[in-house]
């Protein structure tokens, strides 16, 4: 058994190679720091080779938390072999890490990646010269197309089996001596200088660049998207388009043209309506008892259907976001945002976790590891759940279809998302002022080349997220749907009217808490609680509690978006509905996200602090909305 660790600079194609080698479907993004944990898999053509994908690192003396993982693994766990992936388009910088790994004496192979791009740029690389001067085998590859990978793995196996350490060139010894002579930062910097000097020589002898220097396409795009005046409007337009594609009823301002998201949702809703009808038919012909009929149709089909109908919208949103993430644009926005974010006490790098928060808080919280400063990291994690995640979207859609049917729907939803962002900004400002001493860290980030995202990568990425959503609908939401059905149809004396059920009693007992926020209905309070299990659960809960009293035809109509939930208009006004949406947006995220916070904070105390902060924020904001809203409207 051979363990081969993939190591390299951030965004050099490690995960692409990992997927290619193992047949795995790990998410590949186009910004530095996609992989924040190490991942394992088997080489698909040889079971005896174990492949490990490490987070990207610029050097073996790590700077951020996620880089430490790679360093610790290579230095302490000693893999049989390190496959060092080198982005051939920026070979000088990449070879720095190569030299450091070679110096450890661990057997290694250099996989010279992106050879296709190098060729297009007219650069010629003499790999045998490179190999000779570095003292390690070098194999040119194109990870994206799989070219050269078989050869790479042959060399890897050979080198590992023979435990061939890198050839001990004089330079490695020299650097080692310097590092050991004085164990301080100054020696490190001297060593760094020596490495670069040597790399200069290596590149001089083995890499031949054409003389001409034109502005690359990438440079031209950068000039526009990071333009002082245009950058923010461009970003706003892109975001608006993203949302419009997902849930605009009048797509591209054409009356009655559904956006791809809305169209797809319609298809699924119709299908689900037909399925419900079929199930109802089967139940009727089987002559099942009244309560079982109710459980299946109102409880399970109604509850899950409410969630299921939104999956297409979430899918479209995720596909578009994945596309944006993979293109390389995100890193530019992080840069543009840095100056603004810094004013709020955050780093531009907080932008990526925050934006990922629109998808799901759980990976977003993990992504906050790329932040170097402890303070930035903590604040980012505390405010990430304020970004409206995919699971919260169904809640807004439910209200929009019901109470805001006559308003500009896209605008209402956009305003909720905007509210989340605004609160996140204000919160970090407050947290920065009162909770943390302001230590300012610099912003430095590599801007990856723009790439047209591969369909495969976008599909993997989006499917990964939607799958989680669908699984949740089939498990945790199914379970709580049944539980809520039971609690809302029974009390101590058996089956009863909903108004006298267990759930009504519980809901009524806590409803007073929310009275100042404008919603003192027991069903609304129950919704808040079920939302902690999963936010889209609120829709399932409402689907049951508000529509549960009516027959199947009504449920179908609701799901087809033709009819609003009955009674919901009696309980909520526009103002209280907005306050309710805001409260659920900002209050404690779902338990999965709380778990992720606990893991990333590494402390229960901080997790509780964060949750308490979110609760108070939610309450205050919803209160303001209700009070101010009622004065205005």
């Amino acid at each position: 058994m051979i363990t081969a660790a993939l190591a390299g600079n951030p965004n050099c194609g490690k995960t692409t190679l990992f997927n290619e080698l193992t047949g795995a479907k790990q998410h590949v993004g186009n910004w530095p720091g996609v992989t924040v944990e190490k991942k394992e898999g088997r080489y698909k053509k040889n079971d005896n080779i174990n492949i490990l994908d490490l987070p990207g690192t610029y050097s073996l003396s790590p700077y951020s938390a996620e880089e430490t993982i790679a360093r610790d693994y290579i230095v302490n766990s000693k893999p049989d072999i390190v496959i060092n992936i080198v982005d051939a388009t920026s070979i000088e910088r990449n070879l720095y890490l190569t030299m450091q790994i070679a110096q450890t004496g661990t057997p290694m192979v250099v996989a010279l990646n992106m050879m296709d791009e190098v060729e297009t740029m007219g650069i010629d690389i003499n790999t045998s010269k490179l190999s000779e001067m570095l003292g390690v085998p070098v194999v040119p590859i194109v990870a994206r197309s799989g070219k050269g990978i078989d050869r790479l793995m042959e060399v890897t196996r050979d080198t590992a089996e023979k435990s061939l350490a890198p050839i001990k060139h004089e330079i490695y010894d020299k650097i080692k001596k310097i590092e050991e002579s004085k164990n301080d930062e100054e020696a490190d910097i001297m060593a760094a200088d020596m490495r670069y000097e040597y790399i200069d020589k290596v590149v001089d002898k083995s890499v031949f660049k054409p003389d001409k220097k034109n502005l690359t396409k990438s440079d031209k795009i950068d000039k526009i998207v990071t333009n002082r005046v245009l950058a923010l409007p461009i970003f706003a337009v892109i975001m608006y388009l993203l949302f419009a594609c997902t849930f605009s009823e009048n797509f591209l301002f054409i009356e009655g043209l559904p956006s791809p998201g809305v169209w797809l949702a319609g298809v699924v809703e119709t299908a689900w309506g037909a399925a419900t009808e079929a199930v109802a038919g089967v139940l009727a012909s089987a002559g099942v008892s009244e309560w079982l009929n109710q459980l299946v149709i109102d409880g399970i089909m109604g509850g899950i259907g409410a969630v299921f109908g939104f999956i297409p919208l979430v899918l479209v949103l995720f596909v578009l976001m994945s596309f944006l993430e993979d293109s390389g644009y995100m890193a530019r926005v992080a840069f543009v945002m840095d100056r603004i974010f810094r004013k709020f006490g955050l780093s531009g790098k907080s932008f990526i976790p925050l934006l990922m928060g629109f998808g799901c808080s759980v990976p977003a919280l993990t992504a906050s590891r790329t932040l170097e400063s402890e303070k930035d990291r903590k604040i980012t994690m505390m405010v990430t759940p304020f970004m409206s995640c995919g699971a919260k979207l169904p809640i807004y859609l439910m209200f929009v279809a019901t109470l805001f049917a006559d308003s500009n729907r896209t605008l209402i939803i956009f305003s909720i998302y905007f509210l989340g962002m605004a609160i996140a900004i204000i919160s970090s400002l407050i947290l920065n002022k009162f909770m943390f001493k302001s230590e300012n860290s610099g912003f430095i980030m590599e801007l990856p080349k723009y790439r047209i995202p591969s369909l495969k990568s976008v599909a993997i990425h989006a499917w990964d997220k939607v799958k989680g959503f669908a699984i949740k609908a089939g498990t945790i939401i199914l379970f709580s749907t049944i539980l809520i059905w039971f609690l809302s149809n029974f009390n101590m004396s058996g089956m009863c009217d909903m108004e006298e059920s267990f759930l009504a009693t519980i809901g009524n007992a806590i409803a007073w808490i929310f009275t100042p926020l404008g919603f003192n209905d027991w069903r609304a309070s129950v919704g808040v609680v079920t939302g902690w299990i999963a936010k889209e659960n609120i829709v399932a809960t409402f689907g049951q509690l508000f529509a549960g009293v009516t027959d199947e035809t009504a449920i179908e109509a609701i799901m087809a978006g033709e009819q609003s939930l009955p009674e919901i208009g009696d309980v909520f006004t526009k103002v209280s509905a907005f306050s309710y949406m805001a409260f659920n947006l900002l209050c404690m995220p779902c338990f999965a996200a709380v778990g992720a916070m606990r893991r990333e904070f590494g402390s229960m105390k901080w997790t509780l602090k964060a949750v308490a902060f979110q609760m108070v924020t939610a309450y205050v904001v919803a209160l303001i909305i209700n009070v101010v809203g009622n004065i205005i409207f």
């Binding site: 610029y58 050097s59 003396s61 700077y63 388009t89 920026s90 070979i91 000088e92 910088r93 720095y96 930062e185 100054e186 490190d188 910097i189 760094a192 200088d193 670069y196 990438s218 440079d219 950068d222 000039k223 990071t226 002082r228 950058a231 890193a331 530019r332 992080a334 840069f335 543009v336 840095d338 100056r339 810094r342 531009g348 300012n440 610099g442 912003f443 430095i444 980030m445 590599e446 801007l447 080349k449």
Partner: protein
């Protein structure tokens, strides 16, 4: 000699010295800012700088650029 933050867009300069704390200095070096290296300023705006160094585009804020001495 001047800090990189004062460089104009389009200029190519030689890195002379890094004046910042040791940890940042080390990181700057590892990401490519070694002394004697050529840095091409692709953009210098109020939000920060984009520099092409060793064939890689690096974005950095003005605070950091102030500590990078170039000629």
């Amino acid at each position: 000699m001047m800090p990189l933050s004062m460089a104009r867009t389009g200029e190519t300069l030689i890195i002379k010295n890094l004046r910042c704390n040791e940890e940042t200095k080390k990181h700057l070096m590892e990401i490519g800012f070694s002394t004697g290296e050529k840095a091409e300023v692709i953009k210098n705006t109020s939000s920060g700088l984009i520099v092409n160094i060793k064939g890689v585009k690096i974005a950095l804020n003005r605070g950091l650029a102030m500590g990078i001495i170039v000629e």
